[in-house]
Symmetry: C2
Subunit: 458 residues, 2 copies
């Protein structure tokens, strides 16, 4: 049980924030996280920050009263990162929506934490530059940094790990720290940028993020191709990566995912193991890449390529992929989706997917597989009747087996979703004593354990 | 003054290591660092580790006796990283030369810390893969990770920050920690890999490193081109980077550097502001890139391109660039070289180089400029008569001005050399309160301050 928030803290935050501070149940429940297999954990109050100064005031107040603080962006994370595991205040950064600076010549920009990736790309529309990291959901850049998000374009552009150049962070004592200056590379001391990217809000609150931008490619071409099996689809991508073919996106959808997409979006894709592909570059480079990939696909028994080159057709194609999770969720009314997230060295990926699909054959729930296969990362979306203890237990067993298999293949329990509350045991299995080092760092930077407590490790 | 090493420690290490443990003055002096503007700081003893178990034994022994420990690789670092600032034991890892595993399909490999980059590439010669990071010196992979090295190919392949996938580290208490598994991406907890990359041995001893490898390009083409000024040479590269042209190397040498290279290697390059360039890729991509770059260069008043496509000619060309530092050193007999290392956002690079060259015009010493200009990083090699207090003082002032200018341009005091003993004040100017965070982490992981003491910060 959590104790009530101190009246003096409520007063302090209400005075500063006015109606941007709330203890209303509806507001608290909107900031509770959960979903999937994890329960919602509402905070005791929600404080909306609109500026760096707001963040400092909220962090300082919570610190003074010894109250836990949980950063919240768009609330799209998948391991209950935003749940208030020990109560306290949710600091909602979604009001921090300013693009502070676009440095066209340096191809970078500085955005407040609450700017979403779509909002950033809309802002950049007429600059010739874009921000490539694409986890599917329209997450905030601050949240994406916090969970070390990646997604469909990682195989070409990298994820947040590769694309965050620096951060402004408010540390648990209310200090403002800038982790890095804006040079493209630096050997100036410990890499604090990478420490905060993926720290899931446990070391401080991200106020703004400097990210890399890229020139919009001269040509973009997308294609869909079906294959006789999961193994042949996956192997095609692996071979392309090994040959150094610069795929911009290489997404695998299994027949269940395709069927769900067809049903939800009235598309007519062959219900088969399928790749959604995208090539970026100069006209001739895109053409050459696509041609070479067609050769690889043909050698693996791939069918016809369905191309989408104009923006409208590409948008339709990728909307189907981006909303595949939703489509899968709609495929079993009343059930809740649970998305796994392992990532393995690509030499083991085909084997890992094939063995996982064998496990699914005997599962008491429906499921579909979606993979960022160029990186070795794939998701199994389990559709669970959460009122059935049998299904829940079977889902737990399935995920445990999958995580153990990935770790056994020298892979990771989470390629891009993060640890949150859901993967803490798996993290121990994966990294052992390294978790003690993480805890030492946490204790050094947040000795009272007020920043997003109980996430990543206990 | 340092106190003598405890007899029991000497006995312990001598028993374990035999003649791989030494207190001989000549051996200690080989491990003292220094050079440039920093004095050598010999350790009290040198312990040669040949295995992970040796490292654990040496670290544990030093920990037990409270004796400082300084990791040593090839000794090529430039800010006295290997100097024993508080005495103690130098742990020499150059005997750890095994390539533990090459994973061809995953394009990565695991090497012991003492493997040098040239040794690794020799080992990979028949695999079709190579390790691209090239700081010039034949440094060890462990040392390159520790200092977050980069170099000539960073513009295309990234430096150690981008290419280390994981590390095995022996922490100050003698524990073995693996920072990551081998998946290409992961969101599994704090990014310990990046914490140790660039920590300069202050948080533990790196025992092995997992690095990314790349397919040897189908075609490689190198060229030399001279320009009417530093600004036009630099602007050509900046424009190419902004257009997304995939330069593999883009090195600037000023007329003094070219004159030194010509004198040392009997080459006949025009004594002018010059770019050394390299393009990697498929035949047609290399040709297209080179053609586009020629257009950019011509617009900036660049002269004729001198091409080197076969391996022998390319090797000769890059040998001249790699040994330019040596050539510059030879240009003023009796003087010692001091290499600066700022890096700025590329939008400010031309301006930064031009202003710096103006400063040099009135300097009492000779100097030459070498730049990894695609990243915004350049070195001024000052040739100092270290017996002249006036020259030393002028060099200090010159470097202070340069560092202040770079930081003022939102750049860094060190693009790739690291902080060591030489850049500690500059680091404070650059990152302010972030240095306190670094110190907290240091104190948490190494509470007695035994690991490479006094480096990065005091």
């Amino acid at each position: 049980m959590t104790t009530p928030l101190p009246a003096a803290l409520l007063e302090r935050l209400r005075t500063r924030l006015g109606d941007r501070f709330s203890t209303a149940e509806a507001v608290r429940n909107q900031h509770a996280g959960g979903g999937m297999h994890l329960p919602p954990l509402p905070p005791q109050a929600v404080a909306m920050a609109n500026s760096l100064e707001d963040i400092v005031a909220i962090v300082s107040a919570c610190s003074e009263f010894g109250v836990p603080l949980v950063p919240f962006g768009a609330g799209t994370s998948l391991e209950c990162h935003v749940g208030a595991a020990r109560g306290g205040v949710s600091i909602d950064l979604s009001g921090m929506q300013r693009v502070l600076k676009v440095n066209l010549e340096d191809q970078d920009c500085i955005v407040e934490a609450g700017v979403t990736r779509n909002a950033l790309n809309a802002h950049l529309r007429h600059t010739g530059l874009f921000f490539p990291v694409d986890p599917g959901a329209d997450a905030t850049i601050g949240g994406m940094a916090s969970t070390r998000a990646s997604g469909t374009t990682t195989v070409r552009y990298g994820g947040m790990r590769e694309n965050v150049l620096g951060l402004t962070v408010v540390t648990p004592d209310g200090s403002i720290v800038r982790t890095s200056r804006r040079a493209r590379k630096s050997a100036a001391g410990y890499d604090l940028t990478h420490l905060f990217v993926g720290a899931e809000g446990t070391l401080g609150v991200i106020a703004d993020v400097t990210v890399r931008l890229y020139g919009v490619p001269e040509a973009i071409s997308a294609a869909v191709c079906s294959f006789p099996s999961a193994a042949t689809a996956t192997m095609s991508v692996i071979e392309a990566v090994q040959l150094g073919l610069p795929l911009a996106r290489a997404e695998y959808l299994d027949p269940s995912a395709i069927a769900a997409v067809n049903a939800a979006f009235k598309t007519g894709h062959d219900v088969a193991d399928t790749l959604f592909l995208e090539f970026h570059g100069a006209e001739e480079e895109v053409a050459r890449c696509a041609e070479r990939f067609k050769g690889i696909a043909a050698d693996n028994g791939g069918g016809e390529f369905h191309w989408a080159t104009d923006e409208e057709a590409r948008t339709a194609l990728w909307r189907a992929r981006h909303h595949a999770g939703l489509a899968i969720a709609m495929s079993r009314p009343g059930a809740a989706p649970w998305s796994t997230d392992v990532c393995v060295p690509i030499s083991r990926l085909a084997e890992c997917i094939v063995q996982t699909k064998e496990d699914l054959a005997s599962a008491p729930f429906s499921a579909a597989v979606l993979g960022h296969v160029g990186d070795g990362n794939f998701h199994v979306v389990l559709m669970i009747d959460t009122s059935s203890p049998d299904e829940l237990a079977a889902a737990e067993r399935f995920n445990d087996t999958l995580v153990a298999r990935a770790i056994d293949m020298d892979g990771t329990c989470t390629g891009e979703h993060g640890v949150g509350l859901g993967k803490r045991e798996a993290l121990r299995t994966e990294l052992g004593g390294a978790v003690e080092l993480m805890k030492s760092i946490k204790h050094a930077l947040d000795p009272r354990g007020l920043m997003n407590p109980e996430k990543i490790f206990i």
